[in-house]
């Protein structure tokens, strides 16, 4: 080859085809999407919690995309029905994830609605799940001699707190739990995506 223009044009054209297939066509296909009827927009606090989820890279271990029943036992594990594009209407950035070092979380709010459980589990996962390798998020909590007004004290199982101190959740921890509680796509999905 002696012609650099042909080279450049060929290289850009091949990437262009791929971009059309993987970026532009999906864009056209989901552009006119409506939110699923049972899906509620996130509240401000839930969105703050979502930022905590993003900041700490929860997505690297937790997916948010239960697969179809003929693909894996996601439903049997209680992770919910296979998700559809309309379930993600309010999600930006997307948090579909590609790892399941921990379980899928798209319906964690339906599966585990307890705030106490979530706060305690974030503080020390192994107090609730034997053998878990989830990091302990100690930095989302503070230890105090006694609780002050408005403090959310975490009720830890016996033996996991610091003796003589109370464990208080920071605002980030509470926001994050609010977000996790909001993850509930247990409403019925539309049979298929409505296309005109």
């Amino acid at each position: 080859m002696e012609n650099e223009l042909k080279l450049g044009a060929g290289a850009v054209a091949s990437l262009g085809i791929a971009t059309a297939a993987l970026v532009v066509l999906p864009y056209l296909q989901v552009r006119d999407l409506h939110p699923a009827p049972g899906l509620k927009p996130y509240t401000e606090q839930q969105l703050r919690g979502r930022q905590v989820y993003i900041a700490n890279g929860c997505v690297y271990c937790h997916s948010q995309q239960p697969r179809d029943r003929n693909f894996g036992p996601d439903f049997e594990r209680g992770w919910g029905r296979a998700s559809v594009p309309a379930d993600y209407y309010y999600d930006s950035p997307h948090l579909l994830g590609t790892m399941r070092t921990g379980p899928d979380l798209l319906n964690i709010g339906a599966r585990q609605p307890s705030e106490d459980w979530h706060l305690g589990h974030l503080y020390q996962p192994r107090a609730y799940v034997q053998g878990s390798n989830m990091p302990a998020y100690r930095f989302l909590f503070v230890q105090k001699d006694s609780a002050e007004d408005g403090d959310r004290v975490v009720n830890l199982p016996a033996g996991y707190g610091v003796p003589g101190k109370v464990t208080v959740a920071t605002r980030e921890a509470i926001d994050l739990v609010r977000y996790l509680q909001s993850l509930d796509r247990s409403y019925p999905a539309l049979p298929a995506q409505a296309r005109p």
């Binding site: 002696e2 650099e4 080279l7 450049g8 060929g10 290289a11 850009v12 091949s14 990437l15 085809i17 791929a18 971009t19 297939a21 993987l22 970026v23 999906p26 864009y27 296909q29 989901v30 552009r31 999407l33 993003i54 900041a55 700490n56 890279g57 929860c58 997505v59 995309q65 179809d68 693909f71 894996g72 036992p73 049997e76 296979a82 998700s83 559809v84 594009p85 993600y88 209407y89 999600d91 930006s92 950035p93 997307h94 579909l96 590609t98 790892m99 399941r100 070092t101 921990g102 379980p103 192994r126 034997q130 878990s132 390798n133 989830m134 990091p135 302990a136 998020y137 100690r138 930095f139």
Partner: protein
Amino acid sequence: MDSAILSLLGAFLLSILGLFAFIWSLRKGLLVENPRGAGVIFARGEIGQVDDPALADPALRQLQDVSTAREGAPAGADAGELRDRIDADRSSAFPVFMFIAFACLWLLVGSAAGLTASIKLHAPDWLTGEGWLGFGRLRAVHTNAVFYGWVSNACIAVILWLLPRLLRTRLAGAGWAMLGGSLLNAGVAAGIGAIASGWSDGMEFLEIPWQIDVFIFGGIALVILPALYTLADRKVEHLYVSVWYFVASLLWIAVLFLVGNLPGVHVGVQQATTNWWFGHNVLGLWFTPVSVGAIYYFLPKVLGRPVVSYNLSLLGFWTLAFFYPQVGGHHLIGGPVPGWLTTLSIVQSVMMVIPVVAFSINQGGTLWGRMRVAIYSPTLRFMMFGGLMYFASSVEGSIEALRSVNRVAHFTHFTVAHAHLGAYSFVTMVMFGAIYFMLPRVLAWEWPYPRLITLHFWLAAVGGLLYVIPLSIGGWLQGLAMLDASRPFIDSVTVTMPYLEWRSIAGAMLTLGHLVFVGHFFAMALRFGPHRAGAALFWSAPETGIAHGK
């Protein structure tokens, strides 16, 4: 219309197109071998002359003897053309040194973050007091430091050093490239700081906030422009295949980085498809072509023999250019994305066998009967190992994309192991080899402690395999446990534990290798070691004996 008929029609049209392409290539004489094209990396009369600047003179003579015994003595290279090559090298020395230095820095940052993150996966109560030491942040620090810091800087160094050599001209706008390098690395540093402090765009491989991406993109652009000017300023008629790979990869990474990071355009599942279009293309259209292009130069150059089939290398280029960009959807198999998209990606993932086999046949054919040279040449050892791992990782990737395999491997550490097979055992090894070759020319100084190169090679090669093989097994067992509805989920965690610990041991070996490598780099840059040939200043290479042709 039924999808079966559509796919049959598609296959029919494709075969007709393929037939026309075949007839056209016959008419254009593209199937006749072209040894002249393959020989443009050599000066006149240079074929048969081995080359590895990583070797001291006695070792190089030994290498030449092995080669001469088999192929006969070289005719002696044309002095004028060698002088041009020295000129070309001199024009790029400063920017290339800068990019290599940055790459080394980020390699250490990335290794430290990766090793810490790895240990945390089996010791989850270690270092839990600070947000920036959390697993999720360190993992992103690791991936960004090695992707944008280590590999990207090393790739740019290889491109900027080889383009003037291959085009027999001087690097145009070296100052601009260095400005670009400063912007790029300032951006990477800021991006990693942002991720560690919890400011992230939240998507894998696109974590760096777009406000910082502006600077990185500016940096990339300032590197691309001098490369394109150098191309326009070329003194050769024929563009060697490495030039194709380099120029195309520069164009690709610019488009990828721009489209992937556009804020406020992508939403929901479309954002996910864009995310993986980008994520896989950074490997496929940036790391891979630069590494393959580097092997296509360094391997024949060390051997002093052109590649056996130049046409195969061109076939490899165009099939890679066509198939690779479309494979990203295989990261979303089984996810809430359109079925046709994942199917398309699976098909193209399997088609990637073509460029990989084309490359491997070529590499194998060129090395055939010359394997002994690898005992003597450190550069060749790294390149051979990297090329072999390219074959391994790419074939594994094609198989992994199949739905039945993906069902098990998806969402597990198998994917992480696969990523390291490609990004470490292939790309990083090639970059090491390239740096061992380039730096003595860039600094006009020899590697002070050749034994350290051997030590580094074994740490990196064994450590890499020790990382990939156990973690692949662990990931596969994890996937099987996860698919078995009768087993509790925690089984899929417990089963990985011994393999995760192995991974930390292997990671420690790799990190140790990096300390050896970067330490050696600094020893060389600071002119340590026994004094050998070479001037003290790297912008005035010695005229003595036209070192570059030796």
